[in-house]
Amino acid sequence: MTRVVVDVLLKPEILDPQGQAILGALPALGISGVRSVRQGKHFEVELDGAADSEALDRVRRMAETLLANPVIEEFVVRVESAHAG
């Protein structure tokens, strides 16, 4: 079984009010030195087989049609782990 991770973030030019709200809450926690926070989504996709190029193509297709909206978001696909099972 192989786990592939898809991380989805708003494009940099799209206002991220949730990230801004988190940034705004940091001073109350006494945390300083943070310039910006952007909030996104993290998907863990477990494959039946190996993460070969065909399987990764399937995950990319899934990401661009469903997991992310390419109009406002960008995504990164990476293979996280491969182990027997």
Partner: protein, 281 residues
């Protein structure tokens, strides 16, 4: 159609409250309702044929997704405008004989993933996307607008309101275009007030898309007197190139009569589409 059939239809449409006001006290409610219905039926004898012709002539589908909230209000608005509302189910890939479709407000599929993202892949949306390509008028209100953008029937996307607050208020709008099938009954530049209630209503698109929408007269509604959610260029609603598919965040179906809304200035949206359907027929 006889009195009983007519009554069944009226009761099904939820108008029995008005009918029971006619009833005499002291009789079992079913009898009272039936008597009252018969009396209304008789009193409308002279205008009923015209009403029936007008109502039978335009059938407008309203899709119910799991989590839709405003489907009944949309049906009611269509009825008040003189059309026949037809309930459509998200799992049904057949639109039947409807001549237009409304995607109502609400939280389809719980707004999971992104607003409208799951609804886009429902069986009914497959049929709507195909039919829209063939010119079927489609209106998306609020969550319906989000579904239209996710379906790529309209460009751009709706994202979290600037400031994060859910906005619920009576909202002034300018009707920027009367050259769509959903706004033909309005004067261009008309100012209307309808409810706005959304947390993810901020319209965004890249600059080139925004320029094109503006140049082609496809910005249909703009927010007046202050931008409630940070929508780019104050955009509240847009249309496709043909002017057959329109999406907007505010709710015209909640402004169709004085009793239940801020006024009736939203009714024109439904009158518009019915007029265009009758003109075609």
């Amino acid at each position: 159609m006889d009195a009983n059939q007519w009554l069944d239809e009226v009761l099904w449409q939820g108008e029995f409250v008005e009918l029971t006001a006619w009833a005499e006290p002291g009789r079992p409610s079913d009898c009272r309702r039936l008597d009252a219905g018969r009396r209304v039926f008789d009193s409308l004898a002279s205008v009923r044929p015209a009403l029936e012709v007008a109502r039978m002539s335009a059938r407008v589908g309203v899709v119910t997704f799991p989590g839709s909230l405003d489907d009944r209000d949309a049906q009611r608005a269509i009825r008040l405008a003189g059309g026949t509302p037809v309930a459509l189910w998200h799992g049904d890939a057949d639109l039947g004989d409807v001549q237009a479709v409304v995607l109502p407000g609400g939280f389809s599929y719980g707004d999971y993933l992104r607003c409208g993202a799951i609804a886009r892949f429902s069986p009914v949306m497959g049929a709507v996307i195909d039919a829209a390509a063939g010119g079927l008028p489609v209106l998306g209100i609020c969550n319906g607008f989000q579904v239209l953008c996710e379906s790529h029937l309209l460009p751009g996307a709706l994202v979290r309101n600037a400031g994060l607050h859910f906005v619920c208020r009576d909202q002034g709008l300018v009707v920027e275009s009367s050259r769509t099938v959903w706004t033909s009954a309005y004067d261009e530049g008309a100012r209307i007030v309808v409810p706005l209630k959304s947390g993810e209503g901020r319209y965004v698109a890249d600059a080139r898309t925004l320029d094109a929408l503006q140049a082609e007269g496809r910005v249909v509604f703009r927010y007046a007197e202050g931008n409630p959610n940070g929508s780019l260029r104050d955009i509240a609603g847009i249309a496709n190139e043909a002017g057959t598919v329109v999406g907007l965040m505010p709710h015209p179906e909640h402004a169709v009569e004085d009793l239940t809304g801020p006024g009736d200035e939203g009714l024109g949206v439904f009158v518009s589409v019915l007029s265009s359907l009758l003109a075609v027929a």
